[in-house]
Point group: C2
Chain length 387, copies 2
């Protein structure tokens, strides 16, 4: 039997916190369909979400325990999770893939406000066919369906000590693995081979999955940061970057490290120093009560002074937890306030010459008072070197 | 620069095939938002989809080349993909996350039928906030938005020789890795440790990612097949199963192998023999022109004769390709016809005693004439043994 990664009390507290939000926002329930939210409230560890055939639902009523509404294949695993009660339907059954069962469950809920939240808004998707969602709506009329996203994000954004420990562990595993890259990469190595060896290193050190590993390299910088490693060979004067999201019990780290291949140009060295110093500025700013736009401003000031030409990443970091990125975004226009328990990435990046980008990233915990706690092992000010 | 996994002609043919479908179904365009469909038409290899912040769109018009409508961070990678033209918006920008840009692109398309397909129906999800989708609809009025799913699945279901080669390669890598399990697992091994060592083996042998690895064990069988490995120790009399979806250039294998730990009961041996023979029956039935319900019937007949008590998996296999599972489902009620180029899994399973389930799985290619081609290395009739 699979043990849950947290004590049952942790899951009860999560439910209670979202229920407080629901009542404040006048919702009778929230319906969950996506992996991270399902896992947050049940602890279930499965990658079965890769199969698009069957939707899974978790109903969080405004009072009382959750109700999992899941396909038959999920019955045993869900019975061992932190979900409250459970209903199943025989699946696959495309002509009624959980829709009528969901309608009956939602109609049976105590009705106070006549409104139910679904994952409809910012940074949310609905993991069920939209045609089925449109079929469900009239079946539960006159219940109004509204956005449940803000209720969920408000709770997920503040991490418990137990959650922070998982992210810290992922950061440490990946930090040591990234430090080991110069021991298995050298001039002439191929990006995708180094990527594979790094993945193996990360698994050996105890990460559970590696859903995200981006790799890029180029003379004095790279020109994008989101694709997987290619068949490009590392050459003298290159800068190589890895950006890794690996998990422990579903909790992600998300940070990068840059490597100098042999001798790189002074301009590239200065650009790397600028993103490192911009991160320092972010670290000094990330106190409870500050706004994420303050993080953006502090980091951008350093980058502009260093001659930043552009950065199409569009932000200087973001929230982090059960997903590789979570709101808020460290943007000029995002007024979210930093609160104790938030885990953020600081991710300044700059194009210092056409097509030459350098990005840096660390993960931090916002604390009650004073400076944030670094969850990553701080990158050295001078890049690691690969010869 | 990242090379595309297929020649440009392959992507052109895919687009042309879906355009024929579009005209037959009276659609002016199809809009794509999800990873597998985006990759199918562009070849882009990125795991950036893990971040829910930014939607990505690919517009397939009924004639002419595709139009990628993507956040700024995707500009360089998409410019190197098989996408036709490209438009970008500065992102994150939650108040208008690509919505107005998409509206202008869709309104500018040549209009013949006044209908555009989105990923709305069976085995589809929409990877954008539903509230944004609802905002978009009146902006493109009077264009009608309908389900584009059938158009897409009809094309993706029939694999080219180049696609088949990728799945075959994934099957071979994982087949050899699964055969090696007895060399690194033994009585007393912990499920999750064996799972990690198997993952490393698969990466070393050349798979690119392992998005799905399920592991379960129990005395004479297991009681579910979808969770990741737990801290359970393997004991004499157990049956251990691994079910693996690993990829080569995005193309999945999806099959399992069972292992006898020490000496297992005669009833368990008979049950394993039954699922192996049921797979044989499937192999004999999987000819072009047969229906997937015929596959279901042939396999279920063997299982019933062997004393099957139940199977909450709900089907005896499914399509396979750029996703771990694709339609159709080998179910009693699915009348899809097998056609040359379809890749299917054969996945008979039976509960032969309460809580004791045994499942088996192979991957096949439907051929022009005669028996299917096995893409997996056929499992031995007697389980591999771990002592």
């Amino acid at each position: 039997m699979k043990k849950l990664p947290f004590a049952l009390e942790e899951y009860e507290q999560r439910l209670q916190r979202v229920q407080v939000n629901m009542r404040a926002r006048e919702l009778d329930a929230i319906v969950i369909t996506t992996p991270a939210n399902f896992r947050y409230f049940t602890g279930l560890d499965s990658q079965f979400w890769e199969s698009p055939t069957r939707p899974w639902f978790l109903v969080l009523p405004a009072e009382g325990e959750s109700i999992a509404v899941v396909p038959g294949i999920a019955e045993v695993p869900v019975s061992r999770s932190a979900a409250g009660s459970m209903k199943t339907w025989p699946s696959p059954r495309p002509e009624d893939e959980g829709v009528s069962l969901m309608a009956s469950v939602l109609k049976d809920l105590p009705r106070r406000f006549g409104r139910i939240g679904f994952e409809l808004g910012r940074e949310c998707t609905l993991r069920m066919p939209i045609l089925d969602f449109q079929k469900l709506l009239p079946m539960i009329s006159p219940i109004e369906v509204v956005d449940g996203g803000p209720c969920l994000w408000q709770v997920r954004n503040i991490k418990s000590a137990a959650e922070v420990a998982k992210v810290r562990q992922a950061c440490e595993i990946v930090g040591h693995s990234l430090a080991a890259v110069p021991s298995f990469a050298s001039k002439g190595s191929v990006e995708s081979d180094v990527c594979r060896d790094l993945s193996i290193e990360i698994l050996k050190r105890g990460a559970h999955t590696i859903p995200y590993i981006a790799c890029a390299s180029g003379q004095g910088g790279y020109d994008q940061i989101i694709t997987r490693g290619s068949d490009r060979e590392l050459r003298d004067g290159d800068i190589l970057i890895f950006d890794v999201g690996a998990t422990v019990d579903g909790y992600f780290c998300d940070f990068d490290r840059n490597y100098a291949i042999g001798k790189i140009s002074d301009a590239a060295l200065r650009a790397h120093d600028a993103v490192w110093r911009a991160t320092e500025a972010g670290l000094q700013t990330a106190r409870s009560g500050a706004r994420v736009s303050d993080l953006w401003a502090a980091m951008t000031e350093v980058l502009m002074a260093a001659g930043m030409k552009g950065n199409n990443v569009g932000r200087c970091g973001h929230g982090l937890g059960l997903q590789l990125t979570e709101p808020p975004s460290n943007c000029q226009d995002d007024n979210a306030v930093l609160m104790p328990g938030m885990i953020m990435t600081l991710e300044p990046g700059m194009e210092y010459e056409d097509g030459k980008l350098i990005v840096h990233e660390e993960n931090i915990l916002i604390t009650e008072e004073g400076l944030p706690e670094l969850l990553t092992i701080r990158a050295p000010r001078e890049m690691w070197r690969i010869d």
